[in-house]
């Protein structure tokens, strides 16, 4: 550019229009302004709304520096930190970035990320280096700009939890925030915290992750997984370790056990069971009342059905007013049927007694409740439990009561025998309403038909000694009865109707008393020596057929009440005779010797066919001739030396005896009552002659002295001989009790009679 050239060439007036000619240079400020403006606009645009978050404390938060991190991305920056007016809260103002403006909505959780180094989990390590940061988890509510920050780091930092649930439990010893919740080994959630309800019941707040929320239904069961469990059983030692995390924090397991149910909702409450079995058994509670609860442990003691655990004792409480312990038992599903009406629940403990040893397994496994289902159709929920020691496990059956004046030596649990077979047990021993001792028996169902209404019960003595001639029998009725005694019964013949529940029976002291069951008879004796109530027997043909029940003096006599065994009604006929048999040793003979050992007894002779009587006059004659049911006749003499027991001969054959010697009704002669053996009764005819053969008859003959005596016995006591005339003169057969005359000596022709009598009966 040369100025002189310009001057030379300048021919006109040059008007400068500096404002009109615009240089390209002005593009630069425009561009700069545009660039700056765009930048600022961009920056402004990238700013979202400002939110204000309240914290109790905001350590390490600096305005302008601390970022808000969402999913690891910086989503905002802290712009301000203030305290509220009361200095109670920190209000942090955060300027969100535009893309993160969605965080400004209700439900968004803000927390200060601090390093947490714990046993179970470690988080926020990065904040060790970077300083604390503010973190956010997006909520899903409507827009909001004021928030309350969380004081704790949430368990799920990315997503909202799917479900928030509450678990109720008796206690939650080791579970705490962060304890995992597993479903079949997969962690589906965690414990958010534990707290107490207003009623001081501990509750666990848990959360289930969103993707697993559908797994939880209203039928879900939760139980705490023990960190480590050691199981000791017979032949088994099992140590379970549930992983190191569970070891440190404890864990909870959830399962539905296959039951479908509606999905759980936020805030639903569940029970936390102590173990898996408890979780499985969460059916309807059944209340069982026991006399005492020794050894019962809630959550541990099982309910078993045929040895199978089907339930669990949930809780127990003592009722002071009734003095009983009420337990609440929950049964596993599928066993509801066990609580049908009539079910019995028995507490099984180790039991060692003479009965045997039972419940031994409970020494190791702990006691349990045994369940025997009832046959009702209605499901009950209240039961009276029993002790296993009550009366054995089979305590069901026909219950009857026995009464007696005294019941020694029989205890609870003593056996009830029928012909040596145990058919029941003594369930209880107590007083009845009349303060008389009573036994309650239970006859097992399978034997209940054997007990009829006419059965007789008697005690089994622990030992019995039966001694008799040639017999010495010591019976020991088993060790169990030796200890506890026992009861046995029999019906003695015809079975009656089956006994009904609750029938009252009398308990007899022994079998003889029990057998003697006929209506009582009364016998009068002049002398009661040796007669013992309850011991003295009535014998018929030497066989014991009854027993003396009472012996008491009355009106100068002894009145004996006796009973016959059933089936001996013939002895109660009018005309039966009774005599006390005592040992007799005399020249006539030795009789009743067995009574030396067995005691005095009463010999009975059946009367003739006729009506029954209940009062008899007994004789004290210790004669065994009464045993002969001979043909009775009477021989009358003016006076005689012949005594009772003297023999009666026919042709030298002993065919009968004198059984009684008494005065004739008019007292003018003596009557000898003879008993002729039945086979020889036809010999007795109207014209039969009787003579005395007592003493020694000596006849002085030509060559010899003939000493004639019927027998040695007749030598001492005298005897009677008789003869019957030949057929044409003998006359008719006599009736019993026919009276003959006694001659001092026979006529010669009498000795020659020899009729042919074939009428042996």
């Amino acid at each position: 550019m040369s100025e002189p050239d310009n001057e030379i060439k300048d021919h006109g007036e040059i008007v400068a229009h500096p404002g009109l000619r615009i240089s390209w240079a002005w593009l630069f400020p425009v561009l700069a302004a545009l660039a700056a403006g765009w930048l600022f606009w961009n920056d402004w645009k990238s700013q979202g709304p400002e939110v204000r978050i309240e914290f109790a404390a905001a350590p390490g938060i600096e305005p302008g520096k601390t970022n808000l991190v969402y999913r690891g991305v910086v989503a905002g920056i802290v712009k301000s930190i203030q305290l509220d007016e009361k200095l109670q809260k920190v209000i942090v103002g955060v300027r969100l970035k535009a893309f993160a403006s969605g965080l400004a909505r209700e439900g968004t959780l803000f927390w200060i990320d601090q390093p947490v180094i714990g046993l179970g989990r470690t988080s926020g390590i990065e904040s060790l280096i970077q300083g604390n940061s503010l973190k956010a988890r997006m909520g899903s509510g409507p827009p909001a700009f004021r928030f309350t920050g969380s004081e704790v780091v949430p368990l799920t930092q990315i997503d909202e939890p799917g479900l928030l649930l509450t678990l109720n439990s008796a206690n939650v010893p080791f579970l705490d925030r962060g304890s995992p919740i597993y479903h079949r080994g997969v962690m589906i959630g965690a414990v958010r915290g534990k707290s107490l309800t207003p009623s001081h019941q501990p509750v666990l707040n848990i959360m289930i992750q969103k993707e697993f929320a559908g797994l939880v239904t209203s039928k879900s069961r939760f139980w705490s997984l023990p960190a480590a469990s050691l199981k000791l059983g017979s032949g088994m030692v099992q140590l379970d370790l549930a992983g190191i995390k569970a070891l440190l924090l404890g864990a909870i397991t959830m399962d539905c056990f296959g039951e479908p149910g509606p999905a759980a909702k936020d805030g639903d409450e569940f029970e936390l069971s102590t173990n898996e079995f408890a979780a499985r058994t969460s059916g309807t509670p059944v209340h069982i009342t026991f006399d005492e609860g020794l050894g019962l442990r809630p959550g541990i003691t099982e309910l078993r059905y045929r040895g199978l655990a089907v339930g669990l004792v949930e809780s127990m409480a003592a009722d002071i007013s009734t003095g009983k312990v009420e337990t609440t038992v929950r049964m596993a599903d599928g066993y509801e049927r066990l609580r049908a009406d009539g079910a019995t629940f028995t507490l099984v403990r180790p039991h060692i007694s003479l009965d045997g040893i039972s419940g031994l397994e409970t020494l190791v496994a702990g006691i349990y409740i045994d369940c025997v289902p009832g046959d009702g159709t209605h499901l009950g929920d209240r039961f009276i439990g029993r002790m296993a020691t009550d009366a054995g496990l089979q305590d069901q059956g026909l219950a009857v009561t026995l009464h007696a004046k005294e019941i020694p030596t029989i205890d609870k649990g003593a056996p009830v025998l029928l012909r040596g077979i145990v058919v029941g047990k003594v369930k209880d021993k107590s007083f009845d309403e009349n303060n008389a001792p009573a036994l309650t028996l239970v006859i097992r169902p399978e034997f209940s038909k054997t007990l009829t209404a006419n059965a007789k019960f008697w005690r089994i003595p622990a030992t019995s000694i039966a001694a008799g001639p040639g017999v010495l029998n010591v019976e020991v009725a088993g060790v169990q009865t030796l200890w506890k005694g026992g009861v046995t019964f029999d019906v003695f013949g015809a079975a009656g109707d089956p006994a009904k529940e609750g029938t009252r029976f009398e308990l007899f002291a022994d079998e003889r008393t029990a057998r003697a069951g006929s209506p009582p008879i009364q016998i009068e004796f002049a002398n009661g020596q040796g007669l013992l109530a309850g011991h003295t027997q009535l014998r018929y043909l030497g066989v014991p057929v009854g027993l003396v029940e009472t012996v008491r003096p009355a009106n100068g006599k002894v009145l004996v009440t006796a009973r016959f065994d059933s089936g001996y009604d013939l002895l109660r006929r009018k005309g039966s005779s009774f005599s006390v048999v005592r040992p007799t040793i005399s020249l006539q003979g030795v009789s009743g010797l067995e009574s030396l050992v067995s005691g005095v007894y009463i010999e009975c002779v059946a009367g003739p066919q006729g009506p029954l009587a209940d009062r008899f006059r007994g004789s004290a004659t210790g004669s065994d001739s009464l045993q002969h049911q001979g043909f009775p006749i009477v021989v009358r003499a003016a006076s005689t030396a012949i005594s009772v027991g003297s023999p009666v001969f026919y042709r030298g054959v002993h065919v009968g005896n004198v059984i009684r010697k008494s005065l004739a009704p008019d007292c003018r002669s003596a009557d000898l009552r003879l008993s002729i053996d039945r086979p020889y009764a036809p010999l007795l005819r109207e014209n039969t002659k009787f003579w005395d053969v007592s003493g020694v008859r000596a006849s002085l003959g030509f060559f010899a002295i003939k000493v004639q005596t019927a027998s040695l016995k007749s030598l001492a006591f005298g005897g009677i001989e008789f003869a019957t005339p030949d057929i044409k003169d003998m006359g008719q057969r006599v009736a019993p009790g026919h009276i003959f005359d006694l001659n001092a000596a026979p006529r010669k022709e009498w000795l020659l009679w020899s009729p042919e009598i074939s009428g042996k009966e």
């Binding site: 240079a25 002005w26 630069f28 400020p29 561009l31 660039a35 700056a36 600022f40 970077q130 300083g131």
Partner: protein, 168 residues
């Protein structure tokens, strides 16, 4: 490049205006981001001064403040005044001196930018620490360049031109 004085004047004016426009973002936007053990800290120029002052290095703070904020601003203001006085008589000597000062100071003004470039290049210590240049630095440099160019376009002799006189 041959330019008429009028063109030069316009260029100088345009550059000053551009510089003034860019001065705002240059000071508002962070010039660099320092990452020290995880802490990401964007720094504006004024923020850097504050940081230095807070650290007790107030002389340094003063130097940086003067060099990076006051001086560029004064340059732009001075140039603006000079350009506004263009074609007017009076104070021409002062204007000439002022322009000379601005021009001579301009050769030092890029020290900040140079320092920033070195920092950004050297200060890469992996995860522990890092320095990254931010748009603010660009704007800052642009402000300096603008003021340099403005001083260059506006020749000293143009101070002496007046509207009454035809261009010599």
């Amino acid at each position: 490049m041959k330019m008429s004085d009028a063109t030069r004047l316009q260029w100088a004016q345009a550059m000053v205006v551009t510089g003034l426009v860019l001065y705002v973002p240059a000071n508002v936007l962070p010039v660099m981001t320092m990452t020290v053990v995880g802490t990401v800290e964007p720094l504006t120029v004024l923020g850097g001064v504050e940081e230095l002052y807070d650290s007790g290095l107030w002389p340094m703070a003063a130097v940086v403040f003067l060099a990076s904020i006051v001086v560029p601003f004064l340059k732009l203001v001075s140039l603006s005044w000079i350009l506004l006085q263009h074609g007017k008589p009076g104070m021409q000597r002062q204007r000439t001196n002022l322009r000379r000062i601005v021009h001579s100071v301009g050769s030092w003004s890029m020290v900040d930018v140079f320092l920033l470039a070195i920092l950004a290049a050297v200060g890469q210590l992996g995860a522990l620490a890092g320095v990254q240049a931010e748009p603010g630095g660009f704007f800052f440099a642009a402000v300096l360049v603008c003021s340099l160019l403005a001083a260059e376009f506006y020749k000293p002799r143009m101070i002496w031109q007046t509207n009454e006189q035809p261009i010599p």
